[in-house]
């Protein structure tokens, strides 16, 4: 049986990712001043232009800072599973683009360090009653990559 997956939101990352369209975050670039934004934004917070174009962001970056989430966040808005598993979050610096906040796949702070290479991935953060997995973007330590 194959598990059905759906993205937590449309327009956040390429979906479904495959050979021809690898997983990337969908940002935007101001056509007037070049400021890169994520999530994609039509209005530029630097030059106030209202024109932008889509830009797929780099899939690799470095960990700028991080923390852990050791208690279940208030619901709503959090809609993850009742059985709470601690997770980590951080900002990943995508060189020349921006710093993006994301969940991290590694929950142990002792296995995270500032400056670490990180790679974009997806995590099923919630399972719906019908078994459908809801996925969101996350970053994984790059050295844990398996071929």
């Amino acid at each position: 049986m194959t598990t059905t997956q759906i993205p937590v939101a449309e327009g956040l990352f390429t979906w479904p990712p495959d050979e021809s369209t690898p997983l990337r975050l969908i940002g935007s670039e101001c056509t007037a001043c070049g400021l890169v934004s994520f999530p994609a934004a039509s209005d530029c917070v630097r030059c106030a232009s209202t024109e932008s174009k889509e830009r797929l962001l780099a899939e690799r970056g470095t960990l700028w800072t991080y923390t852990t989430q050791d208690f279940r966040p208030p619901s709503p808005p959090y809609d993850g599973p009742e059985a709470f598993e601690p997770y980590a979050v951080g900002y990943i610096e995508l060189p020349g683009e921006l710093l993006v906040e994301a969940r991290l796949t590694e929950p142990d702070p002792d296995k995270l360090r500032i400056g670490q290479d990180m790679r974009l991935t997806l995590v099923p953060y919630r399972v719906q009653d019908d078994g459908t997995e809801v996925v969101t973007f996350a970053f994984a330590p790059a050295e844990e990559e398996t071929p």
């Binding site: 917070v45 800072t65 923390t67 966040p73 959090y78 809609d79 993850g80 900002y91 993006v100 906040e101």
Partner: protein, 382 residues
């Protein structure tokens, strides 16, 4: 321009008060402030009132007297009280009123603040997937700061121990049980590196300040406290701020605290070296450490030595959060900054009792920081 001075302060205790509405707490604080100033409610010509939870905080007139006074509601996140005192002062400085009041009151439910991300202009997936927590920002900001400036976990615990110890000397504080550095370091991690006893909690309380024209202060008090400056700034592009799904790459721009602090010093003609006692936004122990530097009171990284030496304790060179700060008092948002000013006024009057700092303090400093990246600074002097 006419100068505004504080002639009366009133504080309802901070904590949990089942069955007592926020408006009643606010009315108690106002009556205390009026009595302290020797002023009657009908004499008040205008006021500013801040609250997060109360829909129409100006309804407090039903408790105090329907005098027709213009009472304007203000809200600016955790900088709300900085805004209400600034506006109350401005109304005097510009000549609109001779006697004004700043009021703050709130009654928050237990636990971390929860909200709908969309009201903050943030997409819903950010909250659904567990990113919409202000505590993440505080954990991440101090983690980066510790990495860059050599701050230890023990220093975070020392800050919390100091503030709980100061709160133990404050009959109006919420968390009055002293905790040791070891106990704090043994409490559960909530957001690495921050632990349970390194965070403040939302709670309930109220505070009020009565202000008047400096040239009329002699009618009411022999010890007016001067409002030397107020400043409020919002975040600039490139600053690392709470609730930001992303921010631009490149050199990190200074926080709005740095901007507000510089403006406040400049307007006051007072420098960080002149500050005798400070009240800084200590949402968590790490925030107090960072805010010492962002407010110009030390250089980045100096906190490690200063805190180990006890410089920020009541008997130290630069006492910080002498009434227990947010860690000891919790945070009713609308009242929090007025509680800070209440403490500075007591210290400058020499009336802070068991927690009075030694010597003759002349300059006090207060600072607020909150979502989505707004800071308020007030500088006071004798």
């Amino acid at each position: 321009m006419t100068e505004a001075v504080i002639i009366g302060v009133g504080l309802h205790p901070f904590g949990r008060f089942p069955g007592k509405p926020a408006l009643d707490m606010g009315a108690d604080a106002v009556r205390l402030a009026l009595a302290d100033a020797g002023v009657n409610w009908p004499q008040i010509q205008g006021g500013y009132i801040g609250s997060y939870e109360v829909a129409n905080p100006d309804a407090i007139v039903a408790r105090l007297g329907l005098t027709g006074v213009p009472l304007r509601g203000v809200f600016n996140g955790c900088a709300t009280a900085g805004t209400s005192v600034a506006l109350a002062a401005r109304a005097i400085e510009t000549g609109e009123h001779d006697l004004t009041i700043a009021i703050g009151l709130d009654k928050h439910p237990r636990g971390a603040f929860a909200a709908d991300p969309s009201v903050a202009g943030i997409p819903s997936w950010y909250g659904q997937t567990g990113l919409f927590l202000t505590t993440h920002f505080f954990g991440m900001k101090i983690n980066r700061y510790m990495h860059d400036h050599g701050i230890s976990h023990e220093t975070l615990a020392r800050v919390a121990a100091k503030n709980f110890g100061n709160a133990a000397r404050n009959e109006k504080a919420w968390r009055r049980t002293p905790l040791s550095v070891a106990e704090i370091l043994a409490s559960p991690v909530l957001n690495h590196p921050l632990r349970q006893y390194m965070y403040c909690g939302p709670d309930e309380g109220a505070a009020a300040l009565v202000l008047c024209r400096a040239d009329q202060a002699h009618r009411y008090t022999g010890k007016p406290v001067r409002i030397r400056s107020t400043a409020l700034r919002s975040r600039r592009l490139g600053a690392f701020e709470v609730q930001s799904p992303s921010f631009p790459v490149g050199e990190v721009v200074a926080s709005p605290t740095v901007d507000a602090s510089r403006e406040a010093y400049e307007r006051a003609g007072i420098g960080p070296e002149d500050v005798d006692v400070a009240q800084l936004q200590d949402t968590d122990a790490g925030s107090e450490v960072i805010h010492m530097a962002e407010n110009g009171l030390c250089k980045d990284g100096e906190q490690e030595r200063l805190i180990a030496e006890g410089a920020t304790e009541i008997g130290g060179r630069l006492p910080v959060n002498t009434d227990g700060g947010l860690l000891g008092n919790g945070e009713p948002i609308g009242a929090s900054g007025l509680r800070q000013i209440h403490e500075i006024v007591l210290q400058l009057r020499g009336a802070a009792g068991d927690r009075q700092i030694p010597g003759t303090p002349r300059v006090g400093y207060t600072h607020l920081y909150g979502a989505p990246g707004v800071s308020a600074v007030t500088i006071l002097s004798t």
